[in-house]
């Protein structure tokens, strides 16, 4: 049986998150010290070699992202994406609540690598109590002098799901309407206030201290070679144990659901699992032996996303759930680009029609074409990913749709 492996949660429940002394005692800020003894190119090369990939959803190689920041940029920023807007996801909150200093240390390591003096943590609006905790942690780090000339400021999120998208997040920090920008230019070249900016997820940053201390090889050897390390997962829905866990990325969905989640609640049967948040694909029983790493999930038309694992038992109504998801995206579309603004609205209307038993085969066909275009044509990840639940449920659970269609 596969076991938990703790890298980002290494201090969880072992130290007092309110006390920087505890963190220091547990070896905290040694990673930063070591990083600062390295040249910037060496540090970036080391992180690149570890093959740490972003934990915010897109799984981009972290060191590679940093290398886009021009070496001679006079001003640059480090931004932590702690928007965590994905329903059913709370792993970033767990990481911050249990060990805020490791996030700060990770950001400071990045600051050294890209020659930045200023970091921002963009914190989800629903987490005001975590903001207080973070501010206390930052104060302690400042007073101890461990951050050196790197400073960190916490900003409250705007409350919209799309603000988690890195360029919308940047717009939001700048005080504008939270709308994604087109890319390129990528934030690494022109981000916050048009300066080079690295945006990484909380979990990505929290991995850094251990990688710097133990070396790239150590990290690259853990879990799946293409997506090494661990992943913090949050289990929700109809599992027996709704827990958060950190496992090597070689763990399969079946292991996650049955070994850690304790299987399906109340002895019912499994029907589907949606991984990675609202925009994740729906996965049927037959694919449960897929490992959770990013590329394997991609391979089955799903995503690892943020690591939310939403389990559905046999009583769940797939069409109804998909309709609710369609409503979520209609509501969360920022409205900037045509295919998403209009597409999420019409997709929800069609799903409502299906759900109410008024739809025809033609309607399903229209929905499919619309979804396929949205995946390729939308400006940002929200619109590109919004059709995934529709397309995967149509693929794996078509009989449930069929049962609702109007005959003739």
């Amino acid at each position: 049986m596969i076991e938990e492996k703790r890298i980002v949660l290494r201090n969880a429940d072992l130290i007092d998150p309110e006390k920087i002394e505890d963190y220091l005692q547990a070896g905290g800020y040694q990673g930063l010290e070591k990083a600062r003894s390295m040249s910037r190119p060496d540090l970036i090369a080391e992180i690149k070699k570890s093959n740490l990939r972003g934990r915010g959803g897109a799984a981009f190689n972290c060191g590679l992202k940093w290398s886009f920041v021009p070496a001679d940029a006079p001003v640059s920023y480090v931004v932590c994406n702690f928007d965590e807007g994905e329903p059913g996801t709370y792993k970033d909150r767990i990481i911050v609540q249990k060990d805020p200093q490791s996030l700060l240390e990770g950001m400071a390591i990045c600051g050294h690598a890209v020659n930045s003096k200023k970091g921002y943590i963009y914190c989800r609006g629903e987490y005001p109590y975590v903001v207080d905790l973070l501010n206390r942690a930052i104060d302690q780090a400042r007073n101890k002098g461990v951050l050196g000339d790197f400073d960190i400021e916490v900003r409250m999120g705007g409350g919209a799901y799309v603000c988690g998208e890195e360029t919308a997040l940047i717009e939001s920090i700048e005080g504008h309407r939270g709308e994604p920008r087109f890319k390129p230019p990528f934030p690494g070249v022109a981000g916050l206030w048009a300066q080079p900016t690295v945006v990484n997820n909380v979990e990505t940053f929290a991995n850094l201290p251990s990688i710097v201390i133990n070396g790239a090889e150590w990290f690259a050897a853990i879990g799946a070679p293409n997506y090494p390390g661990t992943k913090v997962l949050t289990l929700t829905g109809d599992v027996a144990n709704r827990v958060s866990i950190e496992v090597p990325t070689t763990a399969t969905l079946r292991e996650v659901i049955y070994d850690f989640g304790g299987g399906i609640k109340d002895g019912k049967r499994f029907k589907a699992v949606q991984v990675g948040g609202t925009s994740g694909g729906f996965i049927p029983e037959s694919l449960l032996d897929t490992p959770i790493d990013f590329d394997s999930m991609r391979g089955i038309g799903a995503t690892l996303g943020t690591g939310a694992v939403f389990v559905m038992d046999e009583t769940r109504d797939i069409v109804d759930i998909t309709t609710r998801i369609a409503k979520f995206f209609e509501h969360e579309s920022c409205g900037k680009c045509n295919p998403c603004r209009e597409g999420t609205f019409r997709a929800h209307e069609i799903m409502k029609k299906v759900n109410q038993g008024r739809a025809s085969v033609q309607d399903i066909e229209n929905l499919t074409i619309l979804s396929q275009v949205m995946e390729k044509a939308c400006l940002c990840g929200l619109g590109q990913a919004a059709p995934a639940p529709i397309l995967t449920t149509l693929k794996h659970f078509y009989p449930e749709y069929q049962a609702r269609l109007q005959l003739n």
Partner: protein, 354 residues
């Protein structure tokens, strides 16, 4: 220079160009709705999508950089299908009443629906758009049932006029162009320059002064210089049946060197005095304190005779001419020549100082 392949043809374009610019240079038409070369880029309408070989997503060519070696298709089956869907999505929120629309024949949505054979939308699900049309300003109509949310108006207001009267309100499908608090333009910082009307690709924003007077394909456009302030903006008089029916902008650097199409409220909406029934149409001669109509010959003879008499009796310096800061150079020249050479005095002036 950058070399890339577009539709099987090798194309060269300067460093820093977008794919759209590369296409334009190569004479390959790409449809656009939100793109406007004079405005900040939006990359949002997604009409200009192209396929780049090896990339999973379509790229908006107006914002995608041209890169060495990429292979671009602008009209692949996937792209055409995507454009159709986008047009159908826009059609689903658009109130097509082209038969009475001011923009009929000059509407990008209409043009592209025609080009891509979009007869009706597959996506007429849910309630049709139904925004009230009630902005009481006398200059232009705001019909957001025809708006395709390209935000060109917002960007023109912000980047040309710098008025920031309008912005995008709400989110998602309910996003719409509005003033702060979604009120009337008269209660906003709007200066009624009509730059928004100039850039709007559809019938959402149209001049009320020109309403019903002629469609774009019925009018001739005559490039001329505005007759109000001294800035000297270039504008186009729209003429139908020997009547001025509107003003539009010439937006080229050479055609409109001072203003590049930008105008103010007077230039854009203040032209219908030309057709005023109060215009003078015949010479008038005052008799017993009342004006009566006269023929040109009678009037001109009278003027010539009286001026001649006064010159003889009181001398040239008893006469004066006020020429005008409003008439042409040629007319001013003739007026001062007339004063000096014919009347024989230098008493000629105009209201330069007034």
């Amino acid at each position: 220079m950058i070399t890339l392949t577009i539709n099987g043809k090798e194309v060269q374009t300067p460093e820093g160009s977008t794919i759209l610019e590369a296409c334009q240079q190569a004479g390959i038409p790409v449809p656009t709705l939100c793109y406007d070369p004079d405005l900040r880029l939006a990359g949002s309408c997604r009409m200009c999508l192209v396929e780049i070989k090896g990339r999973p997503l379509y790229a908006a060519s107006c914002v995608a950089p041209a890169e060495n070696g990429i292979i671009v298709e602008t009209e692949s089956p996937g792209i055409v299908a995507a454009r159709k869907v986008i047009l159908e999505l826009l059609s689903a929120r658009h109130n097509f009443n082209c038969q009475v629309c001011e923009k009929n024949g000059n509407c990008k949505l209409q043009d592209y629906c025609y080009q891509y054979g979009v007869k009706e939308s597959r996506f007429n699900y849910g309630e049709p758009t139904n925004y009230p049309i009630n902005d009481p300003n006398p200059f232009f109509e705001r019909d957001y049932n025809k708006c395709i949310m390209c935000t060109r108006c917002v960007r023109a207001c912000e980047d040309i006029t710098i008025a920031r009267a309008i912005s995008v309100d709400n989110r998602g499908h309910h996003a719409k162009i509005a003033t702060a608090f979604d009120g009337n333009l008269t209660d906003s910082p709007c200066v009624f320059c009509g730059q928004c009307v100039m850039v709007c690709p559809t019938g959402a924003l149209t001049s009320k002064v020109s309403a019903g007077l002629g469609r774009s394909y019925e009018v001739d456009k005559v490039l001329t210089t505005c007759s109000y302030c001294g800035t000297g903006c270039t504008l186009e008089l729209n003429v139908k049946n020997d009547r001025v029916v509107g003003v539009t902008s010439n937006r080229t650097e050479t055609g409109s060197p001072v203003n590049k199409g930008a105008l103010c409220v007077k230039g854009r909406f203040g032209w219908d005095f030309i057709n005023s029934p109060e215009r003078l149409t015949t010479p008038l001669i005052k008799e017993n304190g009342e004006f009566r109509k006269a023929s040109w010959d009678e009037a001109l003879d009278l003027v010539a005779k009286r001026l001649g008499e006064i010159k003889t009796e009181f001398g040239a310096d008893s006469m004066a001419v006020f020429t005008s800061a409003r008439v042409t150079n040629e007319e001013n020249y003739i007026a001062q020549k007339f004063t000096r050479a014919v009347l024989g005095t230098n008493n000629v002036d105009h209201c330069a100082r007034l």
